[in-house]
Symmetry: C2
Subunit: 407 residues, 2 copies
């Protein structure tokens, strides 16, 4: 008897009909002799609607109260799915983050899981019930409700799979798996049979949108077998594992992220410790910085630029403005008008020509590059926001990523 | 420093503007030097919308899952009010039933409060915060979410007032207080300055709709000072206390309840123990029976009729049909087409003419009486559903209940 964790996103549970479909799929897995834990997101636009309710009252609401508010979205979907499974004749029980015992730190709206009790879940599974777990939420040591931030339900699914030593963690989405690029932008994008955790990590963090970054990190740390597959069909999906099988292509895919912003701190004193001050300030407020670029000093000052998630822009700019004297800088400027386009592939480091090929593709498409960042398995370029799709297409074409599908 | 519990219903918190109004009223009480605990219902139609979502999936959903679903309504409103109070510059914290420690039995969808911890609430109050408590909900001994049934937020408010030994429990509604009859039906209905717990109990259970029955029972048991007043103005409201001041009128008011149904069990064997069997069956399923009438035996059988809450009709009829042989009855019939009209007043028992006056009023209005039930302080008649309002008007007129207002 295997233990399988299945995670379904908001669009898969958006209405009664889709909930019944999910219920049927879950029951199928259960009737094959497996124990099943289902992790759900909030229905369709529920989270956005709740955020709007909060914004009508306060544009900067208490984060603790925001979590109290947003966690209701998942609570609604788990109750409804438990009803749907009951209607189809199986026993199911829904559990909130608190009831499961998902303990997190106290960073409201983007908390991190510290520990999962899992006793209640195991007891329910042993009693022959399908467990429906609320994704995205947990409790801190005061018993207050926390949420895990964007994509948090993926993280819940993997964390539960790890805590319960599940045999498989299936992430159901509205796409068939992980592609070489977003098929809506690149029509001949190819679905990957498998991919390594490291490559998936880069793709996730770079906006491939199929999986949340933190969930892949967790899966890697605890060696959780993950599959990304569609809730709309029975196609195989993409397996994510320690080391992916060798494929012909070196480049796994092209990703882009339009949900970022760029901040520049202008005329920082060119002395040791300045970068530390800036990024310690941001880290203390749990603001994640992605690409960082520091200009070569001119006279006694230099400029430091970095990218962050778009929804943290206001917090970050406020924070730096308040601390300009402490940092020793003249001013801050920032823009939303950026997107990040990246290529990912484990073999890349040994092929210096890859970066040049990417830049060539962008140049031929007349796209200007604003920042560049490279690592062992990825190269990222910042481009103008409205040129992101064109950039992805140009790069996908350049590396002939669609070809395998045509063979 | 007094401790005041304030309860606001669903229409008082239906949107951002009304939430800000409630926030202002709460802050006013707080700034007068009081500790304040606010108890909220779900916003406007939220509960109905959630019920509809459930019904789309299963017309008889699991009651445990129904509670999981419905409890989100209050969680949304408490988070939003905490934000609103924060926006206006005061410190507030929202707490779910689980966080407050409202322990109930396990009768899902109509649980009863067994114990309130209240430690967290006291700690928050002592830290200078306004506490926003979710009404209507608690947890059972398994940690599962329960709800208290219709009007449950009133019960939460009174139970919290009792547990915290509050000085006053204010129930805010959309009317100014308790009236001699529903002012929408009887335009010259008069607002009462005060009323005794017992009289209010009868009015509440008879559909005066201002207060939930169980909340008044609780208030009586723990001697909680209650006031019913409007959230829309600063009028005094009606005080509910141990013994009301003497007023000129003997009859306190006319109430009606259209939310009932009548069940008759036909041709029951006329032997001892039959009524016990029937009402034990119903009690075990926690179905509350109101008026009971047993016909005089004809031959070796008799008929037993009783009224119950309309939403329990299906459950009750199913239950009895399943047990017809056990009960020893021929068949069940039932109808929605009934309403209960009642007069309430502590002095009534000593005035036998009151019942006759009430029946005369109904006769003159050409309204047929289907069942009659009397007690120390009330007389109830079952009439046709669509004649309830006319009956109330006729009785209110007959007893000249509007007169005091004109003096």
């Amino acid at each position: 008897m295997a233990l399988i964790v299945q995670k379904f996103g908001g669009s898969s549970v958006a209405n009664a009909e889709r909930l019944m479909n999910v219920a049927q799929r879950v029951i199928e897995t259960y009737r094959q002799g497996n124990q099943v834990v289902v992790v759900l997101s909030a229905q369709g636009d529920t989270t956005d609607e709740l955020i709007e309710k909060a914004m009508e009252i306060d544009e900067k609401p208490s984060k603790r109260e925001m979590d109290m508010l947003l966690s209701t979205g998942e609570q609604i979907s788990i109750a409804l799915l438990a009803m749907a499974i009951g209607k189809l004749g199986c026993k199911a029980v829904s559990l909130t983050g608190q009831q499961i015992g998902i303990h997190t730190d106290s960073f409201h709206t983007h908390a991190r899981i510290e520990k999962i009790d899992g006793e209640r879940v195991r007891a329910e599974l042993d009693a022959g019930r399908i467990v429906i777990a609320a994704g995205f939420q947990g409790i801190n040591r005061h018993g207050d409700i926390t949420t895990l931030g964007r994509g948090g339900s993926d993280t819940t699914a993997v964390a539960l799979a790890a805590a319960l030593q599940a045999d498989l963690c299936e992430i159901y989405t509205d796409v068939d798996g992980v592609y070489t690029a977003d098929p809506r932008i690149v029509p001949n994008a190819r679905k990957l049979k498998d991919i390594s955790f490291d490559e998936m990590l880069e793709l996730a963090s770079l906006g491939a949108r199929v999986l949340n970054n933190r969930s892949v990190e967790l899966a890697k740390k605890y060696s959780v077998n993950m599959v990304v597959r569609s809730s709309l069909n029975d196609h195989d999906g993409t397996l994510i594992k320690e080391v992916a099988e060798m494929e012909k292509m070196m480049i796994k895919g092209v990703a882009y992220d339009k949900d970022i912003a760029r901040i520049s701190i202008i005329a920082v004193r060119d002395i040791p410790g300045v970068a530390f001050k800036i990024f310690k300030l941001l880290a203390d407020k749990d603001i994640n910085v992605d690409i960082i670029i520091q200009s070569i000093g001119r006279g006694d000052t230099k400029d430091i630029s970095f990218t962050i998630a778009r929804n943290q822009l206001t917090d970050a700019v406020d924070l730096i403005n308040k601390n300009l004297d402490y940092i020793g800088a003249r001013e801050v400027n920032f823009t939303h008008d950026v997107a990040k386009v990246s290529i990912v592939g484990a073999g890349m480091a040994n092929h210096p020509g890859v970066a040049a090929d990417m830049f060539e593709a962008l140049a031929k498409a007349d796209i200007n590059i604003h920042m560049i960042s490279t690592s062992e398995i990825k190269i990222s370029c910042l481009v103008r926001w409205d040129e992101a799709e064109k950039a992805v297409q140009a790069i996908h074409e350049k590396f002939e990523l669609g070809r395998a599908a045509e063979e």
